[in-house]
């Protein structure tokens, strides 16, 4: 069983997590063209390297961010979204370094 480290709950079986897609900027829903919105919803980068992804720890309903190499599946880091989107605010938890 793969183990992923949740910043709130610690290391858990991967079966406890749900993938939420790439972290990418959302266009303004009221101003974006249909094409821009469709691109946001349906398209993603497909490069090999470190990607930034949304994951949810299902039992706690806690969304967080994972930096993962999509070729080796090595997880570099997991952290609270406040670190990315609301720097300076109090996060739901302190960031935790992924297991080596």
């Amino acid at each position: 069983m793969k183990i992923l480290t949740c910043p709130l709950n610690g290391p858990r079986n991967i079966a406890e997590f749900t993938y939420g897609g790439q972290v990418k900027p959302m266009p303004n829903p009221t101003e974006a063209t249909d094409q821009e919105w469709a691109h946001y919803v349906f398209y993603g980068d497909n490069h090999i390297g470190v990607v930034r992804e949304w994951w949810m720890h299902t039992p706690s309903g806690y969304w967080f961010i994972v930096e993962r190499h999509n070729q080796t599946d090595e997880v570099m880091r997991t952290y609270d979204p406040a670190e990315l989107f609301d720097p300076g605010s109090s996060p739901a938890t302190e960031p935790v370094q992924a297991d080596p």
Binding site: L8, R12, N13, A15, E16, S60, Y62, A92
Partner: protein, 185 residues
């Protein structure tokens, strides 16, 4: 209209080593979520855990459980459940009530072999060494999402309180009671 437990009629299961499985679904609990929830609970005279995923005694028989820095449940096993839903308005600015009385069933496992029983069902090590009194795990038991809290009941016994979605309560009762079988008389 009064609340009913999905485990109505299940009674209690007892076994060797003080083993006991009971249904506390009709005991009172309430939750709060919001950036000011901790301060609000403190202002009401409650003891509040210092970090997420912990449970502390508060007052004579209550406990406060932290599920994040912003979410807390107040457990009151000596009080009956209130059938009224909490108002859908803020308790205070930025602090919202949670419907944990209505959303979750509350099972409690007491007795010496409780960690061994849970080891059959749960990937998290719930032994006393790894999961001491005061610990809370939001995890899966028998593949369903639960909250497990290690604390003492009102009689001073070490217990696991297990909170599970009401719709899964019967299933979880069955799998825990099945895991208990080797300790039953």
């Amino acid at each position: 209209m009064s609340l009913r437990s999905p485990l109505e009629g299940r009674g209690m299961i007892e076994g060797h080593g003080g083993l006991r499985l009971i249904d506390l679904t009709l005991a009172r609990r309430g939750g709060l979520r919001g950036s000011g929830a901790r301060e609000w609970l403190l202002s009401q005279g409650h003891t509040v855990p210092a970090a997420p995923n912990q449970i502390v005694a508060s007052g004579e028989s209550d406990s406060v459980m932290s599920l994040s820095h912003r979410e807390f449940w107040l457990l009151q096993p000596n009080c009956g459940a209130s059938s009224a839903r909490p108002a859908a308005v803020a308790v205070a600015a930025g602090i919202w009530p949670l419907y944990c009385q209505h959303s979750h069933a509350w099972l409690q496992v007491a007795g010496e072999p409780r960690a061994e029983i849970m080891a059959k069902l749960c990937g998290v090590d719930l032994s006393e060494a790894a999961f001491p009194q005061g610990s809370v795990a939001q995890t899966q038991v028998a593949r369903v999402s639960v909250i497990v809290a290690a604390h003492q009941d009102q009689d001073g016994r070490s217990v696991f309180s297990i909170f599970v979605d009401q719709s899964l309560a019967r299933y979880l009762w069955e799998v825990i009671s099945d895991a208990m079988k080797e300790w039953l008389g």
